[in-house]
């Protein structure tokens, strides 16, 4: 069926699409020409990334840690990094080229991005420092948590057990307070002058 059209908008030019269509898919679709390794990446990282993410991608303060945390996903406080958590390497290239450095996004060349990604992989002990990352070698890198994701299964695991007529009376014998926010005491003090 041919849908109604309104003749609005104008054709997008190839240059325009190329400028904005930056997304890279898990199979590598969208990767640009270029290359870099961790040795080059270390220098760039030191200049452009380490102030927040640390010299070894270990993170500073509240800023994201990009390396480490292997095997912690089932722990009490899992450390989720590019190495320990991210399923696809494509995401890091895409995100870094598009949105990093924070506050100066979109300024990295393809070569710089390949080198930075290589350095982050090296920091996660996933490649050797002479591994040259490029469009051709990109899929050679194995991401440890590639199989760590399942599709939303709430329909099967939750909806069924939390449906139906709920209990209305005599639903439990005792009710005890087991945890109190005022004991933890982390809520900002309320003022009426903090509106910007």
């Amino acid at each position: 069926a041919v849908a109604q059209t309104y003749g609005l908008g104008r054709p997008a030019l190839p240059e325009e699409i190329a400028a904005w269509n930056l997304d890279i898919h898990p199979d590598g679709t969208g990767l640009p020409e270029g290359q870099g390794d961790a040795i080059i990446g270390e220098e760039i990282f030191a200049t452009k990334c380490a102030a927040c993410h640390g010299d070894f991608a270990e993170g500073i303060g509240n800023w994201p840690k990009l390396a480490g945390g292997m095997g912690t996903l089932d722990h009490k406080d899992p450390l989720k990094t590019v190495g320990s958590y991210w399923p696809y390497l494509s995401t890091s290239f895409d995100y870094i080229r598009r949105s990093m450095p924070y506050g100066n996004a979109g300024t990295l060349t393809a070569d710089e991005t390949y080198a930075i990604v290589a350095y982050i992989l090296y920091s996660n002990d996933l490649i050797e420092d002479d591994f040259v990352l490029s469009k051709e070698t990109f899929l050679d890198v194995e991401m440890p948590n590639a199989d760590g994701f399942i599709l939303d299964d709430r329909e099967e695991t939750e909806l069924a057990i939390w449906s139906g007529e709920p209990c209305m009376t005599n639903c439990k014998e005792n009710v005890e307070v087991t945890m109190r926010a005022l004991v933890l005491d982390v809520t900002p003090e309320e003022t009426t002058t903090d509106a910007s």
Partner: protein, 423 residues
């Protein structure tokens, strides 16, 4: 840039402004008899004698100064900085269902950008017959629709997974707003470009530095997603995506891409940062759910609550709150005053609307005894809002997102309320 919120930072001073300043001590019964004539009645007041402001005083008004505590608030320690961060809607002080835009919460990943209509461009590319560029003016020429929906951040209540942490409905449940949107169905724009039916996904991204790209299945894109330019009757606020944002009914707020600049029809999901590193929900065994798009049925008592204590003593009390579900309309809300031992069905102010906030009330006679207040929402699918224990049983403690548990407020005889967990 991180939205994996911190979970504990001790040694912050508590607040209880409402209790401190709202005259909790005045526990006189509502039927107290006046002993002396009230001068607010017997003496002519200034406002009854002289002039108020002229109609030229306020071309675009703000709330009266006495309401200056009804504002967004942020929690400094949750994020590394304020431009990839979150603030909270003062739901404890609002009523009805429509959120005033000026205090509707914000969540940015690289700040609220300023993008004027003249500079605005929307591209549709990928698996389409005609890749197109629209101006803002073009969008206003397509047939429009109006719909009211809630937008809830996937991380709303996320800080409460490990325990009762933040003391106030604004902080525990305030990553939400509910607006009437005007916009063009995404389907209309996809048809204008001639989408290829082999394209099973759309990838949408914003004009800001963070981009916030997300993959949305074509079925949803063609169903009820709106490309919106008005909210609550006026242009979107800058911080809410001016001039154009995506509206994705019932689905997690992250997908409501602001300042939307590009829609790409693809044959596969992009698996962007915001759907791999973030907005994936780690279970106890270390495996994580992805594409947890729908926001499940949820509710909270907004008053009384920690920031909205009872100040009028015993007698008639309005228990009020909000309920919502991303899977359809709210059909019923039950309220418990004893921590879930017994429940009463509350009154819905209006019949529930699909994927929109619903206001409920329970009008009670408070005897001045302590209460453990809870609310429990049900939606048209029959789903019943679970307890936190039930959620933890399935998911563990590390999901970060999608915490739709039943909330408990411990209301004391003096009217103060506290965020607690109960057995």
């Amino acid at each position: 840039m991180s939205d994996t919120f911190e979970t504990k930072k001790p040694n912050r001073r508590a607040f209880l402004r409402g209790a401190a300043t709202a005259g909790v001590g005045a526990l006189a019964a509502g039927t107290a008899r006046a002993q002396t004539p009230d001068p607010l009645i017997t003496e002519t007041q200034e406002w009854a004698q002289t002039f108020g402001d002229g109609v030229d005083a306020t071309p675009y008004g703000l709330p009266i100064k006495f309401e200056d505590d009804v504002i967004r608030r942020n929690v400094e320690w949750l994020t590394a900085d304020t431009v990839s961060s979150i603030n909270f809607t003062p739901i404890h002080a609002l009523d009805g269902t429509i959120t005033p835009q000026g205090c509707a919460f914000e969540r940015h990943h690289s700040g609220a950008i300023e993008l004027k209509k003249e500079d605005y461009r929307l591209m549709i590319n990928g698996l389409v017959d005609r890749p197109l560029v629209f101006t803002y003016a073009d969008l206003e020429r397509f047939p429009r629709e109006n719909h009211t929906y809630f937008l809830e951040c996937a991380a709303n209540t996320g800080m409460e997974w490990a325990g009762a942490q933040l003391n106030g409905a604004q902080f525990t449940h305030g990553m939400i707003h509910n607006m009437e949107y005007t916009g063009v169905p995404l389907r209309t724009l996809l048809e204008e470009a001639g989408y290829d039916t082999a394209g099973k996904w759309v990838f949408v991204e914003g004009a800001d530095a963070s981009s916030n790209g997300r993959s949305i299945p074509m079925e949803k894109a063609l169903d009820d997603v709106l490309v919106a330019f008005k909210a609550n009757g006026e242009a979107l606020r800058k911080e809410h995506g001016y001039p154009v944002r995506l509206v994705v009914p019932g689905w997690e707020g992250n997908m409501w891409v602001k300042w939307i600049r590009r829609i790409e029809v693809t044959d596969a999901p992009v698996e962007s940062r915001e759907e791999t590193s973030k907005y994936t929900d780690t279970l106890a065994n270390g495996i994580s759910r992805k594409w947890t798009w729908a926001m499940d049925a949820k509710s909270v008592v907004t008053s009384p609550s920690p920031q909205s204590p009872i100040t009028h003593g015993k007698g008639p009390l309005v228990i009020s709150g909000l309920a919502w579900s991303g899977r359809g309309a709210i059909t019923r809300v039950d309220v418990s005053k004893d921590g879930g031992k017994t429940w009463e069905t509350a009154r819905l102010a209006k019949p529930g609307e699909k994927m929109a906030l619903t206001r409920f009330y329970l009008d009670v006679e408070w005897d001045g005894e302590e209460m453990l207040l809870q609310s429990r929402a049900m939606d048209e699918t029959g789903y019943v809002q679970p307890t936190k224990a039930q959620l933890r049983e399935v998911r563990g403690l590390n999901s970060i997102y999608h915490n739709n548990c039943i909330q408990t407020w411990w209301v004391r005889p003096n009217g103060e309320a506290e965020n607690v967990e109960v057995s």
